[in-house]
Amino acid sequence: MSTTLLGRKGPIVLVFVFAAVAFLGFFLPEIPQFEFTVSGTTNIMTTVVAFTFFIAVINFFALNWRRTKRKETGEWPYAVYSMVLFFVYVILGLLPGYTIQQHPFFLSFYNLVHFPVAKAMLGILAFNVIEGGIRAFRVRTFEAACMVLSAMFVLYTTAPIGEMISPLIPAIGNWTVSVPQLAGNRGVLISFAIGAVALTFRQMIGMEKAAYLGEGE
């Protein structure tokens, strides 16, 4: 009996109670009792998420330590590197004499290493996106032709050179964005929202157990 309660009915009851509280609090925020309950549950959630950081750190070290110990080909030097970087960054963030994360070393590490590297990654991505776009956009069907034409007009609507060539280009681009694009997007979003509501209700009443009881896997 107790096993069934903890193993099967317990999670379903918990999901129902918390979902109902969040649901009522979302739609009836004017009622102070609901507002308080929502704050309470969300604060619990925030604390739970904070604890997951500890699990993430433990998992990070367990994984990288195992790779280093086994000397997995091509991976262990990166595992050591990431562990060393982790420690260096944490120590720099906690250096005494300054408020947390305000030491010049820590700031330099972020501004001169992390930030340029992150931007460089995005820059590399841009080359691939442009090349991929050029190769993929081929007028093989009528639908593809519509897509290529829309892309061309919308691209030039964003760039000032489009207005210089002809005022018609931004006019067509804006119409594409405001009318057919929006209609399609709305349709997708509304159907998605209806599906999400149905799935949420199924989870609330315990019909969709795969997500937290592992059924059907």
Partner: protein, 292 residues
């Protein structure tokens, strides 16, 4: 004709590294030789600017900005908006999500302070009274729901990002108890965060949104602009350049980026046309052959 098609085919199938060189050229050329193309302010950005311009004295603004990898896309825009905010008699609360607190304090604030036009306004503002940078709060969406519902409860016993004092002891917090107190929410970033935040703050608390969007999300956000949930959108780098023009403070990152955008898009246009022409000609030829 067939020789021309062959040449185009060869160009299309050339070494992909050469494509990189072409793209690099289109990006670097305007840096050396600026084109200085005229920029027209779009109605969405104008709407954004007008909304900020008309904010009443004592308005409470919550700001959630993004940083890091996508800075070149929306950084100039958010910086221009922050300059505009600081020139107004408003209170600004910076929500601490991800690395942004660090980015704000170390990158944006010195830039605003160094601005000849907006620096003096910023220097007049008092930390903790006119603006405050909240610490990082884990929990993502849940933390944001808690922040909207009861900020005092969420930040109880927590110090601000700079570690100067407890969040709830700062006078500015008296004006940000719940999301009902917020005049407007300025958010910067992409999907699905912005839509989800809008569902919480606008649907539940009726807080209008000002959004500095990535160009890839800009089209989706038009929907919310039409419905009135958003009261202004900036379209990525272009929106930023337009806003810089409106606040009369152009930078190399925003206005300068427009030349790069123009040239890169022209390159894409040319390739779309060039590589689709042989395809269309061959299709037409094939059709004629069938008819014969």
């Amino acid at each position: 004709m067939s020789k021309v098609l062959e040449v185009i085919d060869k160009i299309e199938h050339m070494d992909r590294r050469l494509w990189g060189i072409f793209v690099l050229f289109t990006v670097c050329f305007p840096m050396v030789f600026p084109l200085g193309l005229p920029l027209k302010v779009t109605w969405e950005t104008q709407m954004f600017y007008d909304y900020v311009q008309k904010l009443p004295d004592g308005a409470n603004i919550v700001v959630k900005t993004a940083a890091g990898t996508l800075w070149s896309e929306h950084g100039p825009g958010q910086l221009a908006v922050l300059k505009h905010f600081f020139s107004k008699n408003v209170r600004i609360l910076f929500w601490g999500g991800e690395q942004i607190a660090q980015f704000l304090v170390n990158t944006y604030f010195p830039m605003i302070e160094a601005s000849p036009k907006y620096g003096p306004y910023f220097k007049q503002k008092v930390y903790g009274v006119d603006y405050l940078v909240l610490p990082y709060m884990p929990g993502g969406l849940n933390a944001q729901v808690a922040f909207a519902g009861n900020a005092f409860q969420l930040f109880a016993g927590t110090k601000d990002y700079l570690g100067i004092g407890f969040v709830n002891d700062f006078p500015i917090m008296q004006h940000f108890k719940t999301a009902y107190d917020w005049t407007v929410y300025f958010v910067n970033g992409g999907e699905p965060a912005v839509t989800t935040e809008m569902q919480i703050y606008t649907t539940t608390y009726h807080v209008p949104f000002l959004v500095s969007a990535l160009s890839s999300n800009y089209m989706l956000y038009h929907m919310y602009l039409q419905s009135g949930q958003f009261v202004g959108i900036q379209n990525g780098m272009r929106g930023g350049a337009e806003y810089e023009k409106l606040i009369v403070e152009p930078t190399s990152a925003g206005a300068g980026g427009m030349d790069i955008l123009s040239l890169t898009y022209t390159f894409i246009w040319i390739t779309y046309l060039l590589f689709n022409v042989p395809l269309i000609i061959r299709k037409l030829n094939a059709r004629r052959g069938v008819k014969k």
